[in-house]
């Protein structure tokens, strides 16, 4: 499949399937989590055609394509986010997600070294619930899985700004800029730590 054919096929699925699927998923998640306090927002989106093509064309170190079957291998064609106030709330939401969805992956994304600061978030790869598919849906073209990220407000804010500023492949960051980005991550991490502590102390969630 050429890039043009891949893009055309994705655009057709994006308009015909994925956008409405993301909307249904948003409603489904909002209904599922409506009784949980301190959730700032719940949203889902279909990956844009441009971002899909960019990801589909990613290469491996040996120069080969990373995704031979991008429609089957890219698992965030639909991505959802749940943004919560405090670190404790990430666990509460994650437990609820585990009760309602079948997952094939769950991971905590944290920097490789304890001396580094960077992206933090909890990611799941989950099976779409059957409730979202009409009886006549073309299941051959609908993804089986979606990605769900659960993050605090500070983790989310940092990752959004970092994504906007730091992903400039044609213009790599200078060492100072790298340190500045890491510094902001440390600030966000510190804010989450303190808010978690204050939440325990002031809202009485501490086990002590």
């Amino acid at each position: 499949m050429t890039d043009e054919e891949l893009l055309a096929e994705y655009r057709a699925r994006h308009i015909g399937i994925l956008q409405s699927l993301a909307e249904r998923l948003t409603s489904h998640l909002q209904d599922m989590l409506k009784d949980i306090p301190r959730i700032d927002r719940v949203s889902a989106r279909a990956k844009s055609p441009d971002r899909f093509l960019a990801k589909a064309n990613k290469l491996q170190p040996d120069g080969g394509r990373k995704y031979e079957h991008p429609f089957d291998q890219i698992q965030d064609l639909v991505g959802a986010r749940v943004i919560v106030f405090y670190k404790q709330d990430v666990e509460v939401v994650s437990e609820e997600i585990d009760r309602y969805f079948r997952r094939i992956e769950s991971k905590e994304l944290i920097p490789d070294s304890v001396n580094e600061f960077g992206y933090v978030g909890k990611h799941f790869i989950l099976a779409f619930p059957e409730d979202l598919f009409d009886d006549g849906a073309d299941r051959g073209k609908t993804p089986q899985f979606f990605e769900l990220q659960v993050k605090t407000l500070f983790q989310h804010a940092w990752s959004e700004a970092e994504h906007d500023l730091a992903y400039k492949p044609s213009d790599p960051l200078t060492p100072l800029q790298c340190r500045q980005v890491a510094f902001t991550a440390a600030q966000a991490w510190g804010a989450d730590q303190i808010f978690a502590q204050l939440h325990d102390e002031l809202n009485g969630t501490s086990s002590h």
């Binding site: 291998q73 009760r99 769950s106 899985f145």
Partner: protein
């Protein structure tokens, strides 16, 4: 009619895996390319790493192949419970799925043996000896695997020759028993990241013993129902609530409300929404009122494990009894809406306004 397979008296441990190739939708016919079989013993208590000896069954027009072809052809209809492989942690891995993928990659007794060994190590004395078959078939762009297990039993063989009747007791008779027959079917499209879900039939998933109920799906296949307990139970409770809200018929409201009160005592057993309606013997009108609220409609027959706590979260009735004998009842999430409450010291005053739609005498609260 149960069908019987009888093992050879002198056979060494035998396990069977059958491989057919073709995509098999319901009603499709496809050519059988290979059949493997293994005899499995109950080894859960003392799992062994010993290699399994199995055999490839020659494909012919004999009764055995015909029976297995029937199972394969009907698997799409018989295996009607969707299941998913479970995966923990940050790697998308499930041991059974990996073994299935290896079998699909290189069909053979050697690649089928790990599944047989896994079944043997998951089998307790309660389930006993069994005969395992694995069948695969390939179509234009799909491959189907059907795994089935026949439990062992005892029986009598009677053979009549021209001069006499011979009656013999046999121990290793394998039954496609309607009460303990188990099968699983998976369809592979050959692409990466697939084969996470399949369909099973297990006549014992409602068995009272957890060990028996979990044996095929959880212990052997390392899978779970595609619908989680919370998700399925919430779907049921939502349908019941919607049915109550949509009707003005007291009979329907009353039947559902009564069932909702009793459902809190149900065990965590596998059921469908249709099963729930049948277990409470709803009238046909009530049943249809509930089923019509399940969207999409096919989910009426989706299996899940009932979760009483989850059910109460979505369909609870709050009841307050006062020391003057009054009993106030309303849906838990609407209680404050239905009853205005004022309090002076320990004395509560509740007030409500509405048209009377039903009035009755009951012997109990």
């Amino acid at each position: 009619m149960p069908r019987h397979l009888r093992s050879s008296h002198t056979a060494l441990p035998l396990v069977a895996v059958i491989i057919f190739e073709n995509q098999m939708q319901e009603g499709d016919s496809m050519a059988v390319e290979a059949i493997y079989s293994f005899l499995t013993y109950p080894k859960r208590s003392h799992a062994e790493e010993a290699s399994m000896s199995g055999t490839e069954i020659p494909l012919d027009d004999g009764k055995l192949c015909k029976m297995l072809r029937d199972i394969f052809d009907n698997a799409g209809k018989d295996c009607n419970v969707p299941v998913m492989f479970t995966s923990d942690g940050d790697k998308q891995e499930n041991a059974v799925r990996s073994e299935l993928l290896a079998l699909l990659e290189t069909p053979g007794v050697a690649t089928a043996a790990p599944l047989a060994s896994r079944l043997q190590n998951a089998t307790s004395g309660t389930s006993g000896m069994g005969l395992l078959f694995i069948c695969m078939g390939q179509g234009a762009d799909h491959t189907r695997v059907v795994i089935s297990r026949f439990p062992a039993d005892e029986g009598v063989v009677a053979e009549k020759s021209t001069s006499k009747l011979t009656v013999q007791f046999v121990e290793q008779v394998f039954l496609k028993s309607a009460f303990s027959y188990k099968a699983a079917t998976y369809t592979s499209n050959g692409k990466p990241n697939q084969l996470w879900s399949g369909h099973v039939v297990d006549k014992q998933i409602n068995h009272g013993s957890k060990a028996v109920a979990d044996y095929w799906i959880v212990d052997f296949l390392r899978s779970e129902f595609s619908t989680t307990a919370a998700q399925g139970t919430k779907r049921l409770a939502s349908a019941l609530r919607a049915a109550i809200a949509a009707t003005t018929t007291m009979e329907i409201k009353s039947e559902i409300t009564s069932a909702a009160h009793l459902a809190g005592n149900l065990p965590k057993k596998a059921m469908t929404i249709a099963d729930f309606c049948d277990s409470f013997h709803f009238s046909e009108r009530t049943k249809q009122a509930i089923l019509s609220k399940v969207n999409p409609a096919r989910l009426v027959h989706e299996k899940f494990r009932f979760d009483a706590a989850e059910f109460s979260r979505h369909l609870a009735y709050k009841q307050v009894e006062l020391d003057n004998g009054a009993v106030l009842t309303a849906p838990a999430d609407k209680f404050e809406e239905c009853f205005k409450e004022t309090k002076r010291k320990d004395v509560h005053t509740f007030s409500t306004t509405g048209a009377v739609v039903d009035e009755r005498l009951k012997k109990t609260k």
